[in-house]
Amino acid sequence: MAKFIVRRIILLVLTMVLVSMAVFLITEASPGNVARNVLGAFVTPEQEASFLAQMGLDKPVWQRYLHWFIGSDWQARNKVGMPLRRIVTEKDFVEWWALRDDDKLVRWKLAGDDLIVMVRNPDGTVVREKDNDRWVTDDRGVSTFWGLDNENHAVMWEKGSDRKVWTFIMGSGWKESSGGPVEYIPLKKGFIRGDPGVSLRTGRPVSKSIFVRLRNSLVLAGIAFVIVMPLALFLGLLAGLKEGSLRDRALSVGGMTFSVIPEFATGIFLILIVAVWWDLVPGATVFGEKAPWERLDMLILPVLTLTLIELGYVLRITRASMVEVMRSPYIRTAYLKGLPYWRIVFKHAIRNALMAPITVIMLHVNWLMGGIVIVEVVFGYPGLGKYLLDSALNKDINALEAGAMILVIVAVGTQLVADIIYTFLNPRIRYN
């Protein structure tokens, strides 16, 4: 068993690496431009270029993947020539600083031709001084300097070069000036070191948003799961006990009716009827900074929608499985042995009949995590699915990767749980 689990975990890591590569490549190949998505269509070419450079999106794809995976601080450290530190300020902002020889945290900025160093005191105050000695001048007379700026980039500043920086000024055309930041490396620790980076769309660290979203989805999916699965299993078994009976037909047809209506339609109908016409419960979820369980009335319609969708599906799988088991020779034998009916059903039939539904249910956990996006969008529910959808539409690669990784863990994890449950249902299954 232990060996089996270890094997599964190795498989999980492998899957994550492959999926992360696939997500990177798919995002890369998909049409659209992050800068325009984020900044709007009326962004000037100059703003666009600057955005891409500051986000590190002007680098080749393999380098961006590497930065995402193992971080960029090691590369920046070599360029800056000082150790780099990532600190979280009192107000909860993440900041990168360089550690100077005198053990002071420093960053720089350019003011005209002067390089200004900002020295951070332990109490958080910052002292500014000129630091022009750090310029490195090459034989062409061009001065460059690699340092850290205010916005968590390693930056190469340049001055006195022949290469002019062209700035477009609306109404008067292109204007040339020399110097300024010419290259950026956005600093991050990388996914395997626990830093999924900053969302390109919102500028907020992905780790801060994604777990709240994951929690919200878990709450919604969890409540739906707890209601749907026992109900569907119970009704499915009930229907499957006697194939063709009125009870069977009513449950199967009823369940199927709701599961064939797409969830966006069910959701909208429920909003219209229950929220707008009857005015019983809210038709949208507005939590603000509250947790979903503090406004349970808002969860009623999304959970009901999910229940109606899911119920019929699992019910019919369970029913089919039950029907098959009830027809099998060993059940007939049990009857002929003269065992009581309840004992045949509970002791012999149900355990075998549950094999198929467990697989389906475990696959559905996965579906519930990422796939409830439609229900989330219809009700404005701040869940993981919606977060991923928005990220995908905006090509927000850091957020998308982090979400994909969570879904991989959930998918592989639930399969593992399903495999373990099988061993209890069917003693013949052994993982050795």
Partner: protein, 550 residues
């Protein structure tokens, strides 16, 4: 320029223009206030009493306003690329001027301004007695710092293009702590309006370091409490705001405003508005009739309309065939059945357009008839251009702009009798923006701007080298039009200005590159418990004196 209280000589010209009936009272107010007179003084001058705000009830204090809005990334106010974050931070940071819903500009952080006769030197008086929320005193230094930030190329503000075209950093001159002067490269009358661009929020020069979230030290009525991108933003009332309410105590009336991110889908936001879970939807970046249509019959929602210069421009690339031939362009323009298009595309909620980018509520608008639908004439023009058998064209439209899609469909139908066979190419909106300046025929949304000269200066001219400017999506450059536009941009007298605009409008409608079929209304739809607010053409939030009932 010596006397600070001097009234700009043009105001007297304006007054006589008003007396002669050449200028409406609204236009007089607009121009007089632009030249530095207070709206109240200008009203007195022409014998109007400035309308005092009338409240049906005494404002109540307290309450939490809940707004659904996408809480976006912010750092530098001059770098906003959407209106929504400016609406949040508008509660914390303020502007030097304020342009109201009728395009009249009022004093705000600057209490007074005046311009030299040649319109190249502007003097601004900064209001005294204002404190930032961290206790710092607000002075001219803050205004000057803010303006230099716009002009700093490393900040990459869109204001660099706008203000930088007439002002160099060296042209800013501090007179004393409460007065500064701008010495311009060329005459400009719209400075007070530029100071109310959504990106022009004034920051504290002592503490601002490029990220307004870290040190949100503004002069506005609220304090930034929480800003979680993608989730929620909360602002809370400060106690020592400089503006006083009707009860003599400092504004604001409301205790707190919450901006809740419900995503971009409208349906859940509308449902939340209807059920009272939120009081208002921030539609500033997505104005359209959807919300209004959904709530107009709802008894507890207040629908406030306003006519705007927001429009859909059918633009034809004049450097590509067949649109290089003006006869073909004219033929397609003649195929617009404007009344029908407005009715079917936008429920009749707007004004009909006339194929020039000036709308009837711009002060310099010169009245002209709306061109009639004339397929026969169009057919004749096509024949003249060498297409006697008609012509096949592709029309690019973004599918999420549903009114544009309907516009395209009506146009397709009505252009058929003229022999123009339109193939509508719908694409996702984001994809349209990828190539909005590249397609040969497409419909592009253009947003409201308060002055008639503003859009033509962005979209229908060339730069110094004679290359069309970046937003000149149709590449149309006309020498006579450019000269006239330059002249108009430096002309204050509305009557003269309108005379120039009569020519400008005529040129653009006769040989221009665009068809404009309609101008769109917009609406602010708020829960009726939100009092003392009105809609603005840009749907920005001016909520200093807003209050909540119950």
């Amino acid at each position: 320029m010596k006397e600070k209280t001097r009234i700009h000589p043009t105001i007297y010209d304006l007054k006589s223009a008003l007396a002669n009936g050449k200028l409406s009272r609204r236009e007089f107010l607009r121009y007089a206030t632009l030249l530095g007179m207070s709206a109240a003084a200008a009203s007195q001058m022409i014998g109007l009493t400035w309308p005092q705000k009338l409240w049906a009830a005494t404002p109540k204090r307290g309450g939490v306003l809940k707004i659904s809005q996408q809480v976006q990334k912010i750092d530098h106010p001059a770098r906003y690329s959407w209106l929504m974050p400016s609406n949040t931070m508008r509660m914390v940071f303020e502007y030097m001027t304020l342009t109201d819903r009728d395009n009249i500009t009022h004093p705000y952080l600057c209490e007074k301004w005046s311009a030299s006769d040649d319109l190249k030197t502007w003097t601004f008086n900064v209001r005294k007695g204002i404190k930032f929320n961290n206790g710092d005193t607000f002075t001219a230094d803050d205004c000057i710092f803010t303006i230099t930030e716009w002009l700093n190329k490393d900040v990459k503000s869109s204001l660099l293009g706008l203000v930088g075209s007439y002002l160099e950093p060296t042209g800013i001159e501090k007179v004393n702590d409460y007065q500064f002067k701008l010495n311009l490269k060329r005459p400009e009358i719209a400075i007070p309006e530029h100071f109310f661009q959504y990106t022009a929020q004034v920051v504290n020069h002592r503490t601002f370091e490029g990220d307004m979230k870290k040190k949100p030290h503004g002069t506005g009525p609220y304090l930034l409490d929480t800003y979680n991108e993608g989730e929620i933003a909360i602002v809370k009332a400060r106690k020592d705001y400089w503006q006083k309410g009707g009860d003599g105590k400092p504004l604001p009336y409301m205790d707190e405003i919450r901006f809740i991110d419900m995503g971009g889908e409208l349906a859940p936001q509308i449902a939340a508005l209807k059920s009272g879970e939120i009081d208002l939807i921030d539609a500033s970046d997505n104005p359209g009739p959807q919300v209004m249509m959904a709530v107009k019959k709802d008894a507890h929602i207040n629908v406030m309309p306003v006519a705007t210069a927001t429009t859909r421009v059918m633009r034809m690339r004049v450097d590509m065939k067949p649109w290089s031939d003006n006869n073909v362009r004219m033929a397609l323009k003649l195929c617009q059945n404007r009344e029908k298009i407005l009715a079917l595309a936008y429920q009749g909620e707007g004004l009909e357009g006339q194929d020039f980018h000036v709308y009837p509520k711009h002060p310099e608008y010169c009245e002209m008839p709306v061109p009639a639908y004339a397929p026969d004439k169009a057919k004749a023009l096509l024949a003249k251009a060498g297409y006697p058998k008609g012509i096949d064209v592709n029309l690019a439209v973004g599918s999420e702009w549903t009114d544009i899609v309907r516009y395209a469909e009506v146009l397709k139908q009505d252009a058929l009798p003229a022999g123009i066979r339109i193939n509508i190419q719908t694409m996702p909106t984001s994809q349209y923006w990828e190539k909005w300046t590249e397609v040969d025929l497409g419909v592009t949304p253009w947003t409201h701007r308060p002055l008639g000269t503003m859009v033509p200066n962005l979209a229908y001219i060339a730069d110094d080298q004679g290359k069309p400017v970046p937003w000149n999506e149709s590449r149309w450059v006309d020498k006579e039009f450019t000269t006239l536009l330059d002249e108009a941009s430096g002309t204050l007298d509305v009557d003269k200005r309108r005379k120039i605009f009569c020519k400008l409008q005529k040129i653009q409608s006769e040989r221009g590159s665009i068809g404009i079929a309609y101008w769109m209304n917009t609406w602010m739809c708020a829960n009726k418990r939100l009092k003392n607010v009105d809609s603005h053409p840009n749907l920005i939030f001016l909520f200093n004196e807003a209050w909540l009932e119950g």
